[in-house]
Structures are given as C-alpha cells and as structure tokens.
Symmetry: D2
Subunit: 95 residues, 4 copies
C-alpha cells in the first residue's frame, strides 16, 4: 500500500479554512478511500498512485466548484516495494 500525507487549502478565502476542510472530508468519506484526518493533514492509504491522484484531482475540482480561485495542495507520498506497509503497521513500528 502507498501511504500519503495530504493537505489541500484554498488561498484568499479568509483566515478560517475549516469550512473547506469539512468539504474535503465529506468528499473523502464518499470516495470509500481509507483515510484519517489529523490537525495538520490527512493520511491516506491507497493501493496505487492512480487512486491517490484521482482523489487529489477530484478534491481540486470540487473546491473550484465552490468558487475558490486558488488551491494549494501539499502531498507527501511514501511508496515502498520492500514490504506491504499500512497506516496501522507503520504507526505500530515506531511505538
């Protein structure tokens, strides 16, 4: 599995972004993808890069539909071939 860290934020829509992050969470929930939100980003687990990129593209599109004119996406992808890491095994390995 591929573990990624995603934050996606509108620019120029006021100081509070929670309204937009709620929308992101709503779309992620509907997508059926495995994810977990923390105070700074969302951790996502996908079987391949295409599933991940489809989600990121969909999130950008949906934010623009809300009238947002600029979106910054911050994405960090941990892709490993040596073992089948999941969000749970990765967190367990350090505790």
């Amino acid at each position: 599995m591929i573990i990624s860290q995603l934050s996606i934020a509108p620019v120029g829509e006021g100081v509070s972004l929670s309204k937009y992050i709620k929308e992101v969470v709503r779309i992620l929930n509907k997508s059926g993808i495995k994810f977990k939100t923390n105070p700074m980003s969302t951790i996502i687990e996908t079987k391949d890069l295409i599933s991940l990129f489809n989600i990121v593209e969909n999130l950008n599109e949906e934010l623009f539909k809300l009238g947002i004119r600029r979106v910054i996406t911050d994405l960090k992808i941990d892709f490993r071939m040596d073992k089948n890491a999941t969000m749970e095994t990765k967190l367990k390995s350090i505790n």
Copy 2:
C-alpha cells in the same frame, strides 16, 4: 498555541527508518512537549516558535550523535493570532 507538523528522517541509513523514529519519539516524550505521532509525521503543539525550534534542533543533534551523517527535516508551522487553537480544537472544527 502554535500547531506544527514535523517529520525528521536520516538519509542513507537503510530502507527502514523506524529505529530512528522511535528515538525521535523517545526524545519528544522526555521533553514534556505536547505531541501526537501519525503514520507520516508528528503533530506538535507549542506556546511559541522558540520552544518548537529548540525541539527540532535537539532532535537533529541527537540523530547526529547516533552516527547519522545527513538529516532531512520537514516542518510545517501553523501560527495564528486570531484565536487560541489547540490540536483538539483544530481537529474538532472539521468534524
């Protein structure tokens, strides 16, 4: 409070980094700082930037003491003056 997202990783020490992340978690625990580890990074809450930077400097130093020759630190800082956000209030606002 300042909410930050930190990942700190040695370069050139093998494919598995969990040994070093465990050391990072051990140092954070000893420091008394408020933090929460997820599969991709550690969320840290500090009262000011100096407390945060002291921790990051200390973590770099301790990793070099282990014989590591190169360390990449990835840090994202959310500093807001308009309200006193904590890790809990920030996460609650989007759920």
Copy 3:
C-alpha cells in the same frame, strides 16, 4: 498553468542522492515538460493536473526499475483559476 514544486528521493540508497536526481532530471528532459531544478527541488509548469501526475508516476516507476525499494515524493501544487501564472510571471511579481 499549474506551478508545482517536486522532490523525489530514494530511501536507503546511501547518503548521496545526486546519482538518482540526475536520473530524474534526465527523465524530465526527455518528457518535454517545462521545469527548472534548484538545490532543494524541481519547479514544474504543466497545463493540467493529469500531465503533472503522469510525470510523478513515471518518475516513481523509473526509480523502482533501478532497484530502489522505497521512494518518498514531496509535491506542492499551486493551482489558480484567477489568472494564467507561469514560472516567469510568478517570479517576476515578487522582484
């Protein structure tokens, strides 16, 4: 245009990564995409998200073909609808 910042690095392949970054630059050159490398990352300009994601996927695949077992990709995407920014206009606007 979409302006992105990309860094892609193998994990566990020694302290020096320049051999792999050279390979990344070679692939980017061959792709015909518009990019510029700096000491920490590569700035990429694409007309849409799909062109960008195709490149990132291709780079991951090529690195795995070299025998690398783990790849960390760090990607920041600036997607704006309000004007047609390029790498040049964006840099000019701050100088």
Copy 4:
C-alpha cells in the same frame, strides 16, 4: 552549510500573495543571509540551525506586524555532516 527550502504565506489575505512575498524578500535582503527565490519557495544557506530559525522567527513577526492574523510556514532542512555542501555545489552535482 545547511541548505533549506522555505515558503511562508499569510492565510486570509486575498488570492495574490506577492505583496507579502516581496516583504519577505526585503527582510531576507536586509538580513545579509544567502538566499535565492524561485517561483515556489526560497532556498536559504546558513552555517547552523540557529541562524535559520532566527530568520524564520523574524519573518513571522514581521508578517504579523503587517496585521496578518495567520501565517503558514513550510520549511525543509537538509543538514549534512559528511561534506560541506553549498547551494552551488549541490546544484552542480546533479547537472
């Protein structure tokens, strides 16, 4: 030397951030620090972590003085002990 990648951006101050990035560049120029701006971030070279953190703290303070209420700082630090890399040697090694 320590090579870092910094982006610092106000939240909630409109779609265009160039006014604030200009202010960041003005402060960096006055500081005497070695840096180079690209379309997505600023590459900084410092002799130690303290010099870097002083700059980041100063930039946050100056942005808040302008009336900004929330600042997001994105910082990636490449700290290596095995050789004395500079912005120039690092870029030369991949070309």
